[in-house]
Symmetry: C2
Subunit: 331 residues, 2 copies
């Protein structure tokens, strides 16, 4: 499929299944950028479960997010129980303005459903010259270090830094050893996962993705990844008046779609920090020295490589998924 | 030794070796709090190498840090080539005030020598009711994912969250799989280290700590820890107009003491984020549910346990270190 076709079919599916134009467009933009970058687990793959949640009324496809400014450096967007991208679209200009005025600012997005990658958001801020960090939680899928059952969400963190010539450096990584979408894809394809990815419902290590989906994933890097997962649970939860992962799980209807929750995004303006334009030159020296080593790449490199190829190569969609999406578009 | 004795001997050593009262006090306070919490590798252990750097003129024991405010949410402190604690002491009230006014604020500390743990700083901010995140870099000891030589510093990250009754929850963890001090202690004691801690000077995995000290440490959690190390290199380096780890290493005189570099501290006020006082109650629910699981502890737990014991138990100092410190006090 071409990217235009991807965007068009997502729009069609969402408009047929309870989204208005504004919500559908924000979601289709985000999902298409995931497909463009071969971030498959955040692309069309998420569409059927999202539609389920629209159909059963969990997600509001006609959400009208509202913005408030509790302080000079803080922006809040209430997502009105819709998908996150439209809430971000509303909050982004205010966050950029607040960061430019104050040097640093925060955007708290609440009451939205997170199905999407975070890097499109941090990258969009870095395109404005800002350094950005975003975190969100999810229903509990991941055990805390030492624990035998799921407590944390996969709790991803995305960080983006602007580059002098070209798209930002951005990473986006779950606090789990493996992204949940990847575990699901392994299960679908009948592949085992490596050691350290998860435990079964008895708390025993296993390589079977189906057992892990019934049990719990593990954090990356043991107790250090667990500390980061805890930090994200606090930042995207209690700090902004939102649920923490375990609460998110209890409140969800378990339909397989995304769950209601919060997201925190920080943006720092190098100019406001008193450093300014030499920052980008200096960062380029770091990037050059880092990637000058054999075997070392910048995070997100594969995604940027894919980004250059998809406009000419198009993307591949598994036949069964394609079929399913066509059905949802005609339903 | 009692904690009062620890503090007194640190003061005596520093005043004898080029520090003025203000610098010595800030350092002694930080080092004593490390000993109080049994964070041995950030306590008296660091004193002899710090004195070496004072004696050879690398570190300015009479530093007069200066503060500037490039924007409403940003505070900068130029450390005047002294140790970090005095610079932090100067910057902290301005950071707290800026966070309370703007909801979020950042403190960039530049031109200081980092010998200390970060959790005393993040905890001090959390004692004021703020959520705090601090990062700093160091000379390169750690390979980037895929690399065969040291490129990143150990690049610690500390995060602290205020608690309703009692000291803040705080973690402080290196981006390396094992703290550098622990690798050195394994080498001294002739013990092998586990898999994944480091590589030799040829870039090959090894369990020999001596080979790792000649080669490079590895990040925790593979490429995900490496992405975090990169983020910290950028935040504590180019973003605030400071050196990145590889540059820090090249500029240092290699005397074994700390190296000149930067630190970035973020502080968020829950009130300014529009959430406010229920944040702490809500976080307590998270902590209670987390630690209600068998085998799960909060990060920093051991440190807080030690903190309760040391006032009555005192601390143990290895005889050779004690001897060395007494000599430095009389020199």
């Amino acid at each position: 499929m071409t990217l235009d076709e991807v965007h068009a079919i997502i729009m069609k599916v969402l408009l047929k299944n309870g989204c208005d134009e504004a919500n559908a467009t924000a979601i289709a933009d985000n999902m298409t950028s995931a497909e463009r970058d071969h971030a498959v687990s955040h692309g069309l793959f998420r569409l059927p479960t999202s539609v389920t949640s629209l159909q059963n009324g969990k997600i509001n496809g006609r959400a009208e997010p509202t913005l408030s400014r509790p302080s000079a450096g803080a922006v809040r967007v209430d997502g009105d129980r819709g998908f996150t991208p439209l809430a971000f679209k509303l909050g982004k200009p205010a966050l950029v303005e607040a960061a430019r005025t104050n040097g640093i600012a925060a955007l708290a997005i609440t009451r939205t459903f997170h199905f999407a990658a975070l890097w499109p958001e941090t990258s969009a801020l870095a395109e404005e010259g800002l350094v950005a960090l975003a975190v969100t939680s999810s229903p509990p899928y991941v055990a805390a270090a030492g624990g035998k059952r799921a407590f944390f969400g996969t709790n991803p963190m995305s960080f983006a830094f602007p580059r002098k010539d070209g798209p930002p450096m951005a990473f986006d990584q779950a606090s789990s050893a493996m992204a949940r979408g990847e575990v699901m894809i392994h299960a679908r394809d009948g592949h085992m996962v490596p050691d350290g990815v998860g435990i079964d419902s008895e708390g025993q290590p296993t390589n079977d993705p189906n057992e892990i989906l019934k049990g719990a994933q593990l954090t990356f890097g043991g107790y250090k990844g667990s500390a980061i997962a805890l930090m994200i649970d606090l930042l995207a939860g209690p700090l902004i008046g939102e649920a923490f992962s375990a609460e998110t799980g209890r409140a969800d209807n378990g339909d397989g779609g995304p769950a209601l929750g919060g997201e925190l995004i920080l943006a720092i303006d190098p100019v406001g920090m008193g450093t300014g334009s030499q920052v980008l030159d200096h960062a380029e020296e770091l990037f050059a020295e880092m990637t000058g080593q054999e075997g070392v790449r910048l995070p997100g490199d594969r995604r940027l490589k894919a980004r250059n190829e998809t406009p000419t190569e198009g993307i591949q969609v598994p036949l069964s998924l394609h079929q399913k999406i066509l059905e949802l578009a005609e339903a």
